[in-house]
Symmetry: C2
Subunit: 215 residues, 2 copies
Amino acid sequence: MNATAAHPHEQSSRDKILDAAEGLFARRGYAAVGLRELAEVVGLGKSSLFHHFESKPQLYAAVSARILKRIDGCVERSLAAGGSAVQRLERLVEDLIDLLAAQPADARLLLRSLFEDDDLPGETPEEIESKGTLANIMSSISAVLREGMDAGQFRTVHVPHLLLTLIGQVVFPFASREFGADILGKDPFEPGEVKRRKRELRDLLRHGLLAPLGR
Amino acid sequence: MNATAAHPHEQSSRDKILDAAEGLFARRGYAAVGLRELAEVVGLGKSSLFHHFESKPQLYAAVSARILKRIDGCVERSLAAGGSAVQRLERLVEDLIDLLAAQPADARLLLRSLFEDDDLPGETPEEIESKGTLANIMSSISAVLREGMDAGQFRTVHVPHLLLTLIGQVVFPFASREFGADILGKDPFEPGEVKRRKRELRDLLRHGLLAPLGR
DNA sequence: GTCTATAGGGAGATAGAC
DNA sequence: GTCTATCTCCCTATAGAC
């Protein structure tokens, strides 16, 4: 995977920086994280960071791009696995939840990147690539929704609004470890809670909230 | 409403600061907003801010507390208006959407405050009050959900998980003006889109996503 | 590829005149 | 209640030795 790594088990400095930055940016946001602190976490001098990334914005763009690619990969694999539109959508939601649960920084950073566009200076190549990746994710999910509607498996809904709804209900609960834990009384990333979350969300999409008898 | 205002139509400096800070903090986050910039927007010198608020964290706490009170007031009024649990929940969701649509900064700042707890130093009196307000909001919504379940109007669901789901799907779409506009092709705060959002969300809660024929 | 040293600027906050 | 001037600290980024 990494052409420069003779020993795949040893993580390069670049990857160590990316991992540490991901955690810090996710928890506290771009502006609140200083390179001094990041360097401390990684175990390097502050200046050494600039040998791997040319600037702080560029580092953030790299972190953000890596997460978007991870999510895009998950979406593509999940939707490619076949089945009816209903099966594919339900599997997609489950797989995304598993991904977000396995990578605690992803949901926070994804959510941030969706409403912190003002944060970053501008138009590095990595940011442009990320825009494309994000657009690809959205269009893939839209496609399965439209497919299900066309096949008569889904109600007739407004696809863009449903897209926003799905993002909110899938991503948000994993974006806030502390608040989520307050509400649930348990760590949302704990396997049992993850499983329950998948079940509850699947049932809500299948049946809505109203009781069958009340219909 | 303001005891010190002889002329209610003239906004005090304190309120001007709160309004400007609310907009800036919502768009860019706590750490990214400098007091110099805030002072410029308000039209004051930087030092004058410290005559109205003792520190930046305390100012942020005041802004955050004001928003939480606004939302809490909306929740209490909406739930107090009576009707069945179904009617009260549906009205609550509609009223919250109207509030978030009317106050574009609220959704962003609320969402931030739900997953940026690490942002702020600690335990000012205003933050403790805010914690109580937030807890009150959550317990009020939980109450109507449990009531509907007990009355057999709602399916048997896991209330805390549904709470997280509702927050995500109600708040998130209004937290990101730019991304939301990209997805919808229109400004999410436009009256027509707000109306459609309320309808789509109500229908999703009533029926889920699956087509009636497919059941 | 990592380090020390430092430049250059902006941050939050204070002092004190008006 | 607002201002100017200033303090101290930390920020991103660079220079250059090893």
